[in-house]
Symmetry: C2
Subunit: 419 residues, 2 copies
């Protein structure tokens, strides 16, 4: 790729959602009464937020681009201007007052829903809307279906089948927290993983939920923990053997940063692959983790790292260039939209084009089965060039740096080889 | 310090405990019946472990040094041979079968005890034993009292007073997990923090407990999480303002590694001290966190990093040389005892003596109020020299490296200055 070829950019983290009342026609009528009560609470909550912070909310909501949360044409226009050709669509498009989120809170905090009936009703309403939105421009949109697997495994499998039949190839979003329900290591969930593997639908958690009832009014505790809670289901799957039983299963942790993966891979590999505990551990891990934990990253485990920091980009060979997927978080205010190209220049200006191609698009294309041939003409129109990102197109990947990045692996033995 | 002056080494992580049945005379007689039941379970548990792993257990238990868990003379002899002059004493001396742990599980997993009566009874039995053990050689031994603050705050304060009067200057060990009880951000605990500050007794958590009922039989999940759970109470205190209300309060996270602090300080400082969210956040943090989070490390927050890894030592200027305290974990098998000097050479051979003095002893001396003058003659007999550790005594601290270590702080504004 020369300095004037355009990147095919896929955002692995976008959000879509109707203004909450407009979900009504997508909701089974028997839930309409419950929905009225939910809406009333939601509106009271919005009023409270407005009373506290009206200037900020008004300034944000005046942006017409926010209508792209549900308006297909507007959405494409915003992404075109941002240089983004393909996208993965999560729920809860409105991060400010939460008004573009699914009925009954079935989006990013679905684990907290008490009644499984309502959890599935809200999820299905969103999934129906999302399938319509994605069908307008299927080569561009990989929609992520909401599937509250913690609330009912058989219904979850049925919803996965429906999502697959209806083109939601972005995979599924599962509740971040299982609360008092069955933890995700349990083989009871194998039916879910089997269905996801069969349809090549990645399983996701996305930041949002945390045990906030433990925090009092201390926002700092939430900041300190929230990405940990979002990533946690990943190691419940890994260490309980889900990727051994379902070797083509993919798991993506989205908008939960990525920096933590560097230390995690080092520590986990070291715990499991070396030192005096290996032999005893290897027996306990038999059939669950045959490879070194870092070897699952980029094969089964991926990180939707959204608006990566410079430091995370610097760690790309440790975490894995093939593990990291960039995203603009459209239309959330903490994302790079509507200034993506400028922000990409800040973050990627000294990154070799070969690495940037992967983190900005080609890994996501492979994880989410985008038809790259179909998207290429659009990318050729809207994508930024390496020159736009301030890159030197002649900069080569430093193979020595790649080899040295996972320095700890030398001499370690994979658990499956240690018995 | 030249190449042949001896280090004054303090282990910030040692363990002491009676063989469980011998706690009986330290236990109030009204709990003897409950204790008999507890002992029967304990012995059944040991039998099960023996059936599974007899060779390993027998080989370990044959070591006479293990009697140092409760035998004062033997203990000093072992530590002398290891070059360790001072020590901080935690419970649960027997990590293999758990037989040298306090009644009713009142040691490292005290949070799990259902009945507050038993939690305090077990804690008090251990504290009485520990006060006797420390009184034999008080300049050398800083005992850590067991105080299940989650189970009863007023009784906890009374126990802290008792511990202070009885020379347990190592501070207190609180339950790692509060389970369904009040989380540690709650101002209800201010009485506890006030008593600890008044007596200059550091508050500790120590690795061990984790929500294992969520893990099934997946040891890998425990490995992935256990240090996070041990460290977690620290940020509940920090972000709820405990160190603002009690500015001389000290908190130590022990035997939970230290590597994680590097990313933590970077992320927390960045969350709270910069970027577009600062102003709104600063209002929410008012009165709770006035400094950048990293500024509390080495002042209020310390890490009993036990048998530090090379990588942790490499990160010492990020985490703080004045935050890190080494420990040999005597008499646990995963520690450096009885090979401490050889292990120190591996880990510290390229570290300037000035840094090693702090991490191996002087920071702990200050945190735990050791009388360095009283310990110096012993250190001059038993302590290793820099030459013993393979160090070049002329190696100076690289001041530029110290300054560059916390690269992210430039331009950040402390929350208390941002309002």
């Amino acid at each position: 790729m020369g300095g004037d070829e355009r990147y095919l950019i896929i955002s692995s983290d976008c959000h879509a959602g109707l203004p909450c009342p407009e979900y009504r026609p997508y909701l089974d009528p028997k839930y309409h009464a419950a929905f009225d009560g939910f809406l009333a609470e939601k509106q009271a909550d919005r009023a409270a937020k407005m009373a506290e912070n009206a200037d900020y909310i008004n300034a944000w909501e005046e942006q017409e681009g926010l209508q792209g949360a549900w308006d297909s044409e507007r959405r494409d226009k915003e992404l075109n201007a941002d240089g983004v050709a393909g996208e993965v669509l999560f729920p809860d498009a409105d991060a400010i007052t939460g008004m573009e989120s699914p009925p009954f809170g079935a989006g990013l905090s679905a684990g907290a829903i008490a009644d499984p009936e309502l959890a599935f009703a809200g999820a299905r309403a969103h999934n129906r809307f999302l399938a319509e939105l994605c069908a307008v421009n299927p080569s561009r949109r990989a929609g992520v279906a909401l599937v509250p697997i913690s609330h009912d495994i058989d219904r979850a499998v049925a919803e996965i089948e429906w999502a697959a039949e209806n083109g939601l190839r972005g995979g599924i979003l599962i509740p971040t927290m299982w609360h008092h329900r069955t933890p995700y290591h349990d083989p009871a969930y194998d039916k879910v993983w089997a269905a996801c593997q069969a349809h090549d639908m990645p399983v996701h958690t996305h930041s949002g939920e945390a045990p906030q009832d433990e925090y009092g009014d201390n926002i700092g505790i939430y900041l300190a923990e929230v990405v940990w809670w979002a990533a946690r289901p990943m190691w419940f799957l890994l260490f309980s053997g889900a990727f051994e039983r379902f070797p083509r299963l993919k798991y993506v942790v989205t908008e939960s940063a990525a920096y933590w993966a560097a230390d995690m891979l080092w520590k986990w590999d070291t715990y499991l692959g070396g030192g005096h505990t290996t032999k005893k551990l290897a027996a306990q891990l038999a059939g669950k983790v045959s490879r070194l934990p870092s070897d699952y990253f980029g094969d089964n485990i991926f990180i939707g790292a959204s608006t990566m920091s410079r430091e995370e980009v610097r760690r790309r060979y440790v975490i894995g260039v093939g593990t990291l997927m960039w995203g603009n978080d459209f239309p959330h205010p903490e994302g790079t939209w509507p200034n993506t190209v400028a922000r990409l220049e800040e973050t990627f200006h000294d990154v070799p084009v070969e690495d940037a191609i992967r983190m900005l698009g080609s890994t996501a294309a492979s994880v989410y089965n985008f038809d790259v041939g179909a998207l290429r003409p659009l990318a050729d129109e809207i994508g930024p060039t390496p020159s736009d990102l301030g890159q030197d197109a002649g900069l080569a990947v430093d193979r020595d740096a790649v080899r040295a990045a996972r320095w700890w692996k030398e001499g370690l033995v994979a658990p499956g080889a240690a018995t």
